[in-house]
């Protein structure tokens, strides 16, 4: 099926995606700042890892650096990103291009700007089939229509001729998902893939992704703010705060007994638990400015448990039980607050 010469995870048996010590620096008018600071995680074939964290904590930046699609103002300054054992950060432009689509694919957070506004969507969807599979214009077009059906766009044949602005927000998001899964990637990174979708269409998309995972053993990195989706769909979670990983582990365990104060605050903000007409609970305060991340714990300014030690010493990400880790000096005491 795949013409690519790169090793596929099926042959190597290791994790499909392995990120280690990833660092991303940004050039700003006031100097260089670090947006992603030593992020690491790994996902096995057929599994789902959810990347969680506050708005602006570096999730998209992590996703874009894995896909090699960072802005020119941003630069990967450390770490490795192994796809089926190969460090893709060391690949040249041509090597990356071969990877994009059949091996590693991404659903961008911003659906409208990721689509070409002056080209009918059918043609955009057909393109990967022409480039990577060498299909004829006619066959590629058929494939595009098939994909549109799979993501629930009614009258796909007619709609294939329409332009992005003629679709609703949720439809554009589904077109982007269709494009990303077109070539059955081994690893899919989906950045907020269902935010613009109602629950029934969301369920349909999640089923599509699950089918791809069971049929093709696709590994999925799911970036989302929807904790319910995470609870239902993910195997493991990675929680980020201000560019750092602060907690990792199997979803059921992390959600039922968080071991980092930020994770706990996030889980406590679920509106389902709130009374209508009353303010919703939020983690008080705001994250540190990237140019002024404190030397100790990154969460100290907002942490109810913060003590002397937290100001002076950055807590390392340490094991807190089987397959779990947290970066907090006092993670043992969390159950008592």
């Amino acid at each position: 099926m795949k013409s690519s010469t790169l090793p596929s995870p099926a042959k190597t048996g290791g994790p499909a995606l392995e990120v280690e010590g990833l660092c991303v620096d940004l050039r700003t008018p006031s100097g260089t700042v670090r947006a992603v600071d030593g992020v690491g995680f790994s996902v096995r074939k057929g599994r789902t890892l959810a990347l969680l964290g506050e708005s602006g904590c570096g999730k998209s930046m992590t996703a874009l650096s894995i896909a090699g699609l960072l802005d020119p103002t941003a630069e990967v300054t450390g770490g490795s990103v192994k796809v089926a054992g190969t460090d893709v950060l060391r690949l040249g432009r041509a090597g990356r291009r071969k990877l994009a689509g059949p091996v590693l694919s991404i659903v961008f957070q911003d659906a409208l700007t990721a689509l070409n506004p002056v080209q009918p969507v059918g043609r955009q969807l057909a393109e990967p089939f022409r480039i990577h599979r060498g299909l004829s214009r006619r066959d590629a077009r058929e494939k595009a229509v098939e994909l549109m059906t799979r993501v629930g766009i009614p009258e796909p044949r007619l709609r294939a001729r329409a332009y992005p602005h003629q679709f609703s927000g949720g439809m554009r998001q589904r077109l982007l998902i269709a494009m990303a899964v077109a070539l059955d990637p081994d690893v899919l990174i989906a950045d907020e893939p269902t935010t613009a979708l109602d629950v029934t269409v969301q369920a349909q998309i999640m089923r599509l992704l699950r089918d791809l995972q069971t049929e093709r053993d696709m590994a999925l990195v799911l970036i989302t703010h929807d904790l319910a989706v995470v609870a239902q769909r993910a195997d493991d979670v990675v929680v980020m705060y201000a560019g750092n990983v602060v907690e990792t582990g199997p979803v059921a365990e992390v959600f039922s007994r968080p071991r980092h104060p930020y994770t706990k605050g996030l889980l406590d903000s679920v509106p389902e638990h709130a009374v209508r007409g009353r303010p919703l609970p939020a983690v008080p305060g705001s994250p540190p400015e990237l140019s002024a991340v404190p030397s100790g714990c990154v969460f100290q300014a907002r942490c109810p448990l913060a003590g002397q030690r937290c100001a002076g010493e950055r807590p390392p990400l340490l094991s807190v039980g089987a397959a779990r880790s947290a970066a907090c000096h006092f993670s043992e005491e969390l159950d008592r607050v």
């Binding site: 009258e155 927000g169 629950v199 029934t200 269409v201 904790l227 903000s269 919703l280 609970p281």
Partner: protein, 352 residues
């Protein structure tokens, strides 16, 4: 159109000369279609919506059912084929000259797509302050404007130093919050929020929602709140309107619509909402809708939901469903709860 529209109110309060002011927003029988090649797609089909002063109306429905189109009609960005829009009693489509900007000031929108709706060449401060250039009286002096920009930024959880950054230097959720700050800049009476918090984590989302509800309490701001997140809609809305394929199929007080839906589509929507329960992975009570989303070019006869409805019978294909009314049981007063269905769901525990 063949189906009876859901009428929002009884008589027009202005007609009998009574002192009751008209609703802040009243949309009646609005229809809008788009041409695609040789065929036409009906995005809105006789839609009625009403928003009272200081009220939040939740608007929910399947992706592509016409919510953003309705929002654009309310904002005067899209002219309906037929039907009327009344804002505080006036038809915005008849306004001319100076009246138009004065009206624009009162109705603002938070756009669904935070990326496309922000001009990439303007800094956050320029984006937020831009509306003041046409409405000079609101924040008249330069120092006052600077102060107000800082205030608005902090209201949505951004920093003062963010004022000088450009849209591409912000994350998805940060851009969405700039859109919100911009909508607040003119102190509007009505804000149409199209998926305003979809890109925000729960904590920041809570912060932003708290700001919106505080403005409502303090200044009486009204909202039309479009969202796919049903727990958020439930938390913020006084009343909820449910759309399906361009038509309002149910509306009523929030508690009634959520807890005792009349329409099978509403029931399916509520049941499909994922919950945070991590123990039982697949829940069994979910009502799985069968069939494809029907084509908006070719709307089913009779009831438009019949191709996916598990209660559908022969009559549903032949006769347009009637309006069924059930007394509101919520403490919101006499507000009716109405749905469009031949076989509405009962009052007992949800029958599926």
């Amino acid at each position: 159109m063949s189906e009876t529209p859901l009428t929002a109110t009884a008589a027009d309060p202005r007609a009998d000369g009574s002192a009751t002011p008209p609703p802040l927003l009243e949309v009646r029988g609005v229809t809008k279609s788009f041409g695609h090649g040789r065929r036409r797609l009906t995005a809105l089909d006789g839609v009625d919506v009403r928003v009272e002063r200081g009220e939040t109306l939740g608007l929910v429905g399947e992706s592509g059912c016409g919510k953003s189109t309705l929002a654009r009609v309310v904002l005067g960005l899209e002219r309906p084929d037929s039907g009327t829009v009344r804002f505080d009693g006036t038809d915005p489509f008849t306004l001319k000259g100076k009246e138009l900007p004065a009206w624009r000031r009162r109705v603002q929108m938070v756009f669904q797509d935070p990326f496309a709706s922000l001009n990439a060449r303007m800094s956050a401060a320029d984006l937020i302050g831009e509306p003041w250039r046409t409405h000079r009286d609101i924040v008249p002096t330069a120092p006052a404007r600077e102060r107000r920009v800082r205030e608005l930024l902090s209201l949505v959880g951004l920093r003062e130093s963010d004022a000088h950054r450009y849209p591409n230097e912000f994350s998805g959720g940060q851009r969405q919050r700039i859109g919100i700050a911009r909508a607040l800049a003119l102190d509007p009476d009505l804000i149409v929020c199209d998926e305003p918090v979809s890109a925000l984590d729960l904590s920041v989302q809570a912060q932003v929602l708290n700001v919106l509800s505080e403005l409502r309490e303090r200044l009486g701001v009204s909202y039309v709140f479009i969202s796919h997140d049903l727990s958020v809609v439930r938390h913020v809305s006084d009343r909820v309107t449910v759309m399906y394929l361009g038509k309002v199929i149910e509306h009523g007080p929030t508690e009634d619509v959520f807890d005792r839906p009349l329409h099978p589509y509403t029931a399916a929507l509520m049941s499909a909402a994922p919950t945070l329960d991590v123990s039982g992975r697949e829940r069994d009570e979910e009502i799985q809708l069968r069939g494809e989303i029907p084509s908006p070019y070719d709307i089913p006869s009779g009831c438009r939901f019949r191709t996916r409805c598990w209660k559908s019978e022969a009559r549903c294909a032949e006769v347009a469903p009637p309006v069924v009314v059930r007394d509101g049981t919520a403490d919101t007063g006499q507000e009716p709860h109405e749905g469009l269905c031949h076989f509405p769901l009962g009052t007992g525990p949800m029958e599926a």
